[in-house]
Amino acid sequence: MTTIIVIYGLLAICLVWSLLKSLQKTIQSFKVAARALWKMAPGLLAIVGVVGLILGVLPPETITKLVGEEAGFLATATAAVLGAVTLIPALISFPLAASLLRTGATVTTIAAFITTLVMVGFVTAPMEIKALGKKFTLLRNSLSFVAALIIAGLMGVILR
């Protein structure tokens, strides 16, 4: 809800400002927006579809089963991969992580899951490539994945 208010508030301010300055440039902005949206539309729709499929096959209960009870490196690696391939809104992922902790997952596993979830986007990679290029996307995501594992390891040691 905050997100919606912030975006539309920001848009309203910018639009009023733009309209006061030049109608022509405002229309041009809408044209640029429409062109970009049309270019990105297939990717955006595909994200919706793939996220639905992944969370349909892997509901939170299944994720809990996969990484909840097991400890050790395998659970952490599984959690990191799950975090990288899924796209779960933060409001769902944090309660999920808390329930994983209660079922016996380690801090390392939870940290790996949360960190790859937010930093690595497998499903969104095609969109990222379109906007920022293949090299940028591959480097950013692979380095973020490695960083997530290191962050997870450090957090496990520090928060023991």
Partner: protein, 168 residues
């Protein structure tokens, strides 16, 4: 024909959803719900973000972006990118087109990585939810380590990404 080619991935997914509805109704039920929720969120968030992007493209001159977050913008560029990322403005896929526009306008690669990293991992409302569920020590430590990692990744990408690697 071109339209079918352009939308082949979403169309393929529609076929998968139809197959699920016929053979695996329980997966289908969950998938439909998630996809529908996501679609609704996108329809609300995507159009204003793209219009903002259009306004940015039309109104803000290249020189200004360069000065603010381009080469030589230094610490000020870093803080500005970080702050832009922490605004509560929705999921990461929304940030890619925005980041692309900024890069084309001369933003520094490291600042774009920091912008994306802050957008994804260091959102203020998100941190509050995280602290509530996982505790302040967890959240504070993850915040610090993630920020460090994002800065290092930004510096590495700065070295490897050349202007010709960025799509126009």
């Amino acid at each position: 024909m071109n339209l079918i080619k352009k939308f082949k991935a979403p169309l393929l997914l529609v076929l998968v959803y139809l197959a699920l509805a016929i053979w695996w109704p329980d997966i289908s039920g969950r998938s439909n719900k998630v996809a529908f929720d996501y679609l609704r969120e996108m329809i609300l968030i995507i159009p204003p973000v793209f219009v903002l992007m259009g306004l940015l493209e039309v109104w803000v001159p290249k020189e200004q972006i360069k000065k603010l977050i381009g080469a030589g913008s230094g610490l000020k560029g870093f803080f500005f990118s970080f702050l832009m990322g922490t605004l509560p403005t929705g999921p990461l896929y929304v940030a890619f087109p925005m980041a692309g526009t900024l890069l084309q306008k001369g933003a520094k690669v490291s600042n774009i990585v920091i912008f994306l990293g802050a957008w994804a991992a260091i959102k203020i409302p998100q941190l509050l939810v995280e602290a509530e569920f996982l505790g302040l020590p967890f959240t504070a430590l993850r915040f610090t380590l993630t920020l460090t990692a994002v800065i290092i990744i930004g510096l590495v990408l700065e070295k490897f990404i050349k202007p010709e690697d960025i799509p126009q």
